[in-house]
């Protein structure tokens, strides 16, 4: 009798969850060990992060504000993954969503109750338009969306820089390299947390229901896991691919709209704050499940917010990036290991 490892086609849920928790713990322990070696007191730092984040209403509001864009971009990437499309361009779609929404707010006169929905539509459509070419290229010419969506990020960022420092530059002169303050803002929901947050949570719930219970959700899942079989079964895979990728872009664009009109108030170059790229981590940690996105976005927001607290304690921003990287690395290892089980094989006589 000896022991063997057997690889399963899909990880068992219990194992997957356990591996995820173990990965998180191991990543934090590794980071703590490195910090301790560098002369910091990791337990004190952790206590301070938790106290500053959860110990006051001020900390919780900040967390909600940081969580909001991560849910949008996390959902954007997660939705794409459902059909096997890697939307690396959420960063660019986020910027374009902010750009379109800011354009409406700055140049379309009208009452707030009309402008806000219009800005949401403009943001979502801007995001969808920004992923349109990569989508069609993937659907009809089999061009990898990994590259096309990624490269368009830089175009979007330069476009935002161009208008914010050029044609749309704040005429008052108070603020540099940014547009004027938008005359329309997303109303506040809880303290400084605006209505973009409950909308994001509602979208996650809606998507979870749609993917779990609708025919469309089922067909998308099948199209993602086995396109050949899906086609054979008569599922319009290409149509679903196009629809899902456009939805992905729209979610990221809507996130950009909420950030510019809810949190920042002006369109400027740094507005996306890497939320698009962080969304990839959020979605991967969530295994592309919309409800999982809520959990992993919360985790990411706590880590990033913790990072800011750590920076005021003398750690560099790179340390924080390294911790998030460790979590992703350990999670990837854990996910792979969760596919294996140990079996006992009888020696054949």
């Amino acid at each position: 009798m000896n022991l063997h490892l057997q690889r399963l086609p899909s990880a068992r849920p219990g194992m997957a969850f356990g591996a995820r928790v173990a990965a998180l713990v191991l990543a934090l322990l590794t980071a703590a060990a490195v910090l301790a070696a560098a002369g910091f007191a990791p337990l004190d730092l952790a206590a301070q992060v938790l106290r500053s984040t959860f110990g006051s209403r001020f900390g919780l509001e900040d967390l909600g504000l940081l969580l909001t864009p991560l849910i949008y971009t996390g959902l954007a990437v997660a939705v794409g993954l459902r059909i096997g499309a890697w939307n690396i361009g959420a960063e660019g779609q986020f910027n374009i969503g902010a750009f379109c929404a800011a354009g409406v707010a700055l140049f379309v006169p009208g009452p707030v109750w009309l402008l806000l929905p219009l800005m949401m539509v403009a943001g979502a459509m801007g995001g969808a338009l920004w992923i349109l070419v990569p989508t069609l290229a993937r659907a009809y010419a089999d061009v990898s969306e990994l590259i096309t969506t990624l490269l368009l990020n830089f175009v979007a960022l330069l476009l935002v820089y161009f208008v914010a420092t050029g044609p749309w530059l704040d005429p008052s002169g108070h603020a540099l390299a940014t547009t004027a303050r938008l005359p329309v803002a997303v109303p506040e929901f809880w303290g400084i947390v605006h209505w973009g947050f409950p909308v994001a949570v509602a979208l996650a719930l809606l998507l979870a229901v749609v993917f779990a219970f609708s025919r469309w959700g089922y067909e998308v899942r099948i199209s993602g896991s086995n396109p050949g079989a899906a086609r054979y079964a008569g599922i319009p895979v290409t149509r679903h691919l196009i629809g899902v990728m456009l939805l992905s872009g729209a979610l990221a664009g809507l996130g950009g709209m909420m950030e510019v009109a809810g949190t920042v108030g002006r369109l400027q170059g740094g507005i996306s704050n890497n939320y698009g790229y962080l969304g990839i981590m959020v979605a991967v940690l969530a295994r592309a499940a919309p409800l999982g996105v809520l959990a992993s976005a919360l985790l990411m927001a706590v880590i990033l917010n913790g990072g800011i607290i750590l920076q005021t304690q003398g750690l560099t921003t790179n340390t924080v990036l390294a911790v998030t990287g460790l979590i992703l690395l350990f999670s990837a290892i854990g996910d792979e290991l969760a596919h294996y089980r140990v079996i006992r094989r009888q020696e054949k006589g």
Partner: protein, 373 residues
């Protein structure tokens, strides 16, 4: 509350005359708004916490390093107080989070380097008991002041040297963003160069960052490829100096003496020293005397050219230094007629630009390309 921008020019001039006796701004008038607000209450040195938010890493050997030297000077002058700093503060909602965290950590005074705008103002409004300073800021509040340097004067002086040393007459500029400090830097540099070579031009490339050595090196290379043979810029590090050194061109830098990255390319640098100013502001805060000020440190008192580089001929150095002496004795090179890049006359003949106009310069003069959209 008085907003600086809302004062008339006459009001400014009057205030400038009154403030002319003040300590840091002998020449122009730092425009010191008369705030009705009482000074913030005193703070015991051992209970004080002073915080800095930096745009780049302190190891940049440039802008951020220079400000961190100021922080260290404060620590030395007031050994019992605590200082705190965060490097590479981004221009996003994270900036507000960082400044809010300073307030939550108990900071009595916060310095922001620089241009954080609303991200800082939103925090300052909610923390009236904390003194804030925004470097290169454009807004004053009851607990928020502004500080910067009159870098346009040493930029003019180094421009004279660049004009004399350039063979092609084409000068290059590695720009961060099209903001007033870049407009005044390029314009002053070209006016200095044109005082000795009327055909000189400046071509600018915007890289959308204050600290991005790779992009700065690419921009420097592109400018040299375009025929420029002297580079200037407003970068926090030395990348385009290294490019100039490799290509046999010349360069004028910012912030610190970084000639070791390109000893033969190095002409000079716009040197900054904020240490004494930081110490004075912290002293005022601790003593309960602090009200917001707008301090644009003049040449020879916070900003100046660096000692000339080894390849600068003595006669070039002498000619540029003559311009420097003239400025220090009260002459302003920023006197009309000055045309903008479209050829329209913006400053009439004989008219001299005010310090405020120089600080808020947002158009390119004739001969500067690459900034106006």
């Amino acid at each position: 509350m008085t907003l600086i921008r809302e004062l008339s020019r006459r009001g400014f001039l009057n205030m400038g005359a009154a403030a002319g006796l003040g300590l840091m701004l002998p020449k122009t008038g730092l425009i010191r708004p008369a705030f009705a607000a009482a000074p913030l209450p005193p703070v015991a040195e051992e209970a004080a916490m002073i915080a800095w938010g930096y745009v780049g890493p302190t190891a940049d050997e440039g802008w951020t390093w220079a400000h961190d030297q100021g922080r260290l000077a404060v620590e030395k002058a007031f050994p019992k107080l605590k200082t705190s700093f965060v490097e590479s503060v981004p221009y996003s909602a994270d900036a507000s989070r960082i400044y809010r965290q300073f307030v939550a950590d108990g900071a009595n005074m916060v310095f922001a380097n620089s241009n954080y705008g609303d991200f800082l103002y939103d925090v300052a409004k909610r923390a009236p008991e904390v003194a804030f300073y925004e470097c290169d800021g454009r807004l004053a509040m009851e607990n928020l002041g502004t500080y910067y340097v009159q870098h346009w004067y040493p930029s003019y002086v180094t421009g004279v040297a660049a004009g004399l040393m350039s063979k092609t007459g084409k000068l290059g500029y590695v720009a961060s963003f099209p903001v007033p400090s870049v407009y005044s830097g390029t314009n002053a540099f070209l006016m200095g160069a044109r005082s000795v070579n009327p055909a000189a031009t400046v071509q600018a490339i915007v890289i959308n960052s204050w600290f991005d050595p790779q992009a700065a090196a690419q921009a420097g290379t592109a400018l040299l490829d375009n025929g420029c043979d002297v580079l200037f810029g407003i970068m926090d590090e030395a990348a385009y100096l290294q490019v100039a050194e490799q290509r046999g061109a010349k360069a004028v830098m910012w912030n610190t003496d970084i000639r070791r990255y390109g000893p033969s390319a190095y002409i000079s640098s716009i040197m900054v020293d904020f240490g004494p100013w930081y110490v004075e502001q912290v002293r005022r805060r601790l003593a309960g005397e602090w009200t917001p000020s707008e301090d644009i440190l003049p040449m020879a008192k916070g900003v100046d050219r660096d000692a000339w580089g080894e390849s600068v001929p003595p006669e070039v150095a002498a000619q540029a230094d003559a311009a420097r002496e003239k400025i220090l004795s009260g002459w302003s090179p920023f006197t009309g007629e000055i045309k903008d890049s479209n050829g329209a006359i913006k400053v009439a003949a004989g008219q001299t630009m005010t310090e405020r106009e120089l600080y808020e310069w947002n158009w390119s003069i004739e001969g500067v390309s690459g900034l106006d959209a």
